[in-house]
């Protein structure tokens, strides 16, 4: 349901959330004066329901449900255009990162499952192999997202061009990698409570 009314009070504005975003991103949210320059240059604007400047605005108002509910944050390409051009050094790209992390941690209410799925697979790949194996990534993604025939035409072409490796070697330092992952999990769970 589209919410067209906002009741503002100290209880409806979740400013703690905003503080966490500011802490994680290392960027102030308050500095934004809504010039819209970020949104003017954002290549992904047309795929988002909230333009970047509105994301910041919603944060200023402590409306984190509205921010996280949409798919906007998952459509940010981390291109850094907004951060580069913001006249107030609002690091929107970092804010987007922080929002995604918070959403991810909260097992995000976002609708954008494909992007999330791709991210998840990508990271799992690193954990199991140390490096990325594009072939596996693409195949598993298609399988899990139920789009078995996506890029059907592309696969064989890439294979013949030597661009997809069918077989891969695991890194020798996998135990170390595993340790990094588990320690980060530990830190994250500590962070959550």
């Amino acid at each position: 349901m589209k919410q067209t009314k906002m009741t503002l009070s100290q209880t409806t504005m979740n400013l703690d959330f905003v503080k966490r975003v500011e802490h994680l991103s290392g960027s102030s949210v308050r500095r934004c004066f809504q010039c819209g320059k970020c949104s003017a240059g954002c290549p992904m604007r047309s795929f988002m329901e909230h333009p970047p400047n509105r994301i910041v605005r919603l944060l200023q108002l402590g409306q984190f449900e509205r921010v996280l509910a949409g798919r906007s944050i998952w459509y940010c390409a981390s291109c850094e255009t907004c951060t580069t051009r913001c006249p107030n050094k609002v690091d929107l790209a970092a804010i987007m990162d922080a929002l995604r992390k918070l959403s991810w941690d909260a097992d995000g209410p976002s609708k954008e499952s494909y992007v999330q799925l791709a991210n998840r697979l990508f990271i799992e790949n690193i954990r199991s192999y140390g490096r990325q194996y594009e072939m596996r990534l693409a195949a598993v993604f298609n399988m899990k997202s139920g789009q078995f025939l996506k890029d059907f035409m592309l696969g064989p072409k890439l294979l013949t061009k030597g661009k997809l490796k069918m077989f891969h070697r695991k890194n020798r330092n996998l135990p170390e990698i595993e340790k990094i992952f588990s320690r980060i999990e530990e830190l994250r769970s500590k962070d959550r409570d």
């Binding site: 992904m44 390409a77 992007v115 991210n119 990508f122 990094i180 980060i184």
Partner: protein, 293 residues
């Protein structure tokens, strides 16, 4: 020609697979320029966009680990992929400024951090360490007549205080490098626009739109080909080019070269070693037309 330049080398995941021609041409070019290149053993994925997208700490830790691994190899760290370059630089930048994060990463890596290695993109090595004069001196087959649209994408220059490779909004480093090899460069509008990046997997529609705009702009400017320094950009502009054509009804047939392919070609490396055959948009007719093959 004598120079004693030597680097440790972080190819990044793509260069071992979809961007193997970038890897091969880089090695070829550096050999021709007599610049040493020693691959960092057991390097890991830098985490790329997905990691920092949802887990900054993971991204920082993976990069810090790579920097630590690289510290075991002589020479500054040469990076080919713009995305890896950006991640490594961002890691250094973030950890230098943030004690909390530094401590967390140190905990994750279980030890003191060794992240001081100087990280350099190939462009920097060619334009600054080697120098444009040396580079042109090594040219055996000038790329005369080839009109190149240099595509920077997002991460080579942004955000302003991280990569510090060149001017953020009006860089010229790619143009200078390729001009040193005798090519002509075109002035065009979309050099710094986003190609759609890693949405190629999850939302290819995005890529078709954004990369389509880039191809259109390069064509408008009269370019023969595009030159890139990032496997992701390459993937979107080259591998998806036919889809873009199909979706937009425009015909581009615009070869997308890695900068090292063109430079190595100019430096006299055998074309057979430059992976032209693995490009989707066939560059051979263009190169023949320009008498470069």
């Amino acid at each position: 020609m004598k120079n004693k330049l030597s680097y440790s080398y972080y190819p990044g995941c793509s260069l071992h697979a979809s961007a193997r021609e970038y890897d091969e041409s880089t090695r070829g070019l550096f050999k021709a320029l007599r610049i040493g290149l020693v691959e960092v053993p057991d390097w890991l994925c830098c985490g790329a966009t997905p990691a920092h997208n949802v887990d900054e700490l993971l991204s920082l830790s993976l990069c810090a680990k790579n920097l630590e691994l690289a510290s075991g190899v002589e020479g500054d760290l040469a990076v080919a992929c713009a995305a890896c370059f950006s991640r490594l630089k961002t890691t250094q930048h973030t950890l230098a400024a943030n004690d909390d994060k530094r401590q967390q990463v140190a905990y994750a890596l279980d030890g003191p951090l060794a992240i001081g290695k100087s990280v350099k993109h190939l462009l920097e090595i060619l334009a600054k360490d080697l120098g444009l004069e040396q580079l042109s001196a090594a040219v055996q087959k000038p790329l005369s007549g080839l009109k190149v649209a240099c595509y920077y994408g997002c991460l080579l220059t942004r955000p302003p205080d991280v990569p510090q490779l060149d001017c953020t909004e009006a860089p010229t480093i790619m143009e200078r490098v390729i001009a040193a090899a005798g090519a002509e460069t075109v002035t065009w509008s979309h050099r710094l626009e986003c190609c759609g990046a890693n949405f190629t997997l999850s939302r290819p529609g995005v890529v078709l739109k954004l990369s389509g705009d880039i191809l259109a702009s390069a064509k408008r400017a009269g370019a023969d080909c595009l030159m890139v320094a990032c496997p992701l950009c390459h993937g979107n502009l080259d591998i998806r080019q036919q889809e873009i054509e199909a979706a937009s009804g425009e015909r581009y047939a615009m070869p997308v070269f890695y900068m090292t392919q063109l430079l190595a070609l100019a430096a006299g490396v055998a074309p057979g070693k430059l992976g032209f055959d693995s490009m989707i948009t066939n560059p051979v007719p263009l190169l023949k037309e320009k008498h470069l093959l």
